[in-house]
């Protein structure tokens, strides 16, 4: 049962990811990312991270992606030219990404870490619940929590500044005859 859930989520996430990279129309890419995010939320659930899964769907897929959709609609589709100005990019990029994947896999699979290579310890009942997350946020990770809040504030102000229209200046009146 677990395996089915895992593979379902994995295939969903992977296909969403590939679709994001491969699709020409950026609007379709956005939608593909949404699919990816939801699949990822499912994977989180299999890992007993209920709160994070919910946050993923509500915040990420719900709010951030909606933002993307708005901007994609506003900006419209950008036709990317076929010609690649950087020599070798089309070949080297997949190559290096693949190399990176291989290396990371080797690192993971060949590791001597004891915690990997099993399902992990038995977890208590409230693992991943909002209650325990909340406790952590307000006790151990209070500073991180507050810093993240400030970051959000700064980002919001920054976004407003970036997108503001320039106001028309009133004409200067010259005194005298």
């Amino acid at each position: 049962m677990e395996e089915v859930a895992f593979f379902a989520g994995a295939i969903g996430a992977l296909s969403g990811a590939i679709a994001v990279v491969a699709l020409r129309n950026p609007f379709y890419s956005v939608l593909a990312l949404v699919v990816h995010l939801v699949a990822l939320a499912g994977l989180f659930l299999t890992l007993h991270a209920e709160f994070i899964a919910a946050a993923q769907v509500v915040v990420y897929a719900g709010a951030v992606m909606v933002l993307y959709v708005f901007v994609a609609a506003y900006v419209g589709g950008v036709e990317e030219p076929e010609f690649e100005p950087i020599a070798g990019q089309r070949i080297l990029a997949p190559l290096l990404a693949g190399a990176l994947f291989v290396e990371l896999s080797i690192a993971v699979l060949g590791t001597g870490l004891k915690s990997i290579g099993g399902e992990g310890p038995t977890i208590p009942l409230g693992f991943g619940s909002p209650k325990s997350i909340g406790e952590l946020l307000l006790e151990r990770f209070l500073i991180a929590f507050e810093a993240a809040s400030i970051l959000l504030l700064v980002a919001a102000v920054g976004a407003v500044v970036l997108a503001a229209r320039k106001r028309q200046e009133p004409p200067i009146v010259v005194e005298g005859n």
Binding site: F6, A10, A13, L14, I18, V20, V21, P26, S29, L33, L40, L43, L47, H48, A49, F51, I52, A55, Y60, A63, V64, L67, Y68, A72, Y74, V75, V78, I86, A93, P94, L96, A97, G98, F101, L104, S105, V108, L109, S115, I116, G117, G118, G120, P121, I123, G128, I133, L136, L137, R140, A148, L151, L152, A155, A156, G158, A159, L162, A163, R165
Partner: protein
Amino acid sequence: MAIEWYLVLSALLFSVGAGGVLVRRSPLVVLLCLELMLNAGSLALISFSRSIGNEDGHVFALVVMVVAACEVVVGLGLIVAMFRRRLPLNIDEMRELRG
């Protein structure tokens, strides 16, 4: 499922995202690929958190989500500003770093 499945999946998603950043030219799609990479990271965090047995990874993943959101806000604001000024939405056009 053993944890390494999740970790390998996370590595795969990360690589796909990295390749996407390098290959696509539209800034919007590049941001999307960056999202992919960030989420892959979150997946890895959650997996480790499960294998260790406490929820520190969950909090970390939450903060990653916050940061991603902020980054998206600013990035999209930049894209909108570029669009408003009729600049070409193509990363290759921004070559001021050329030496």
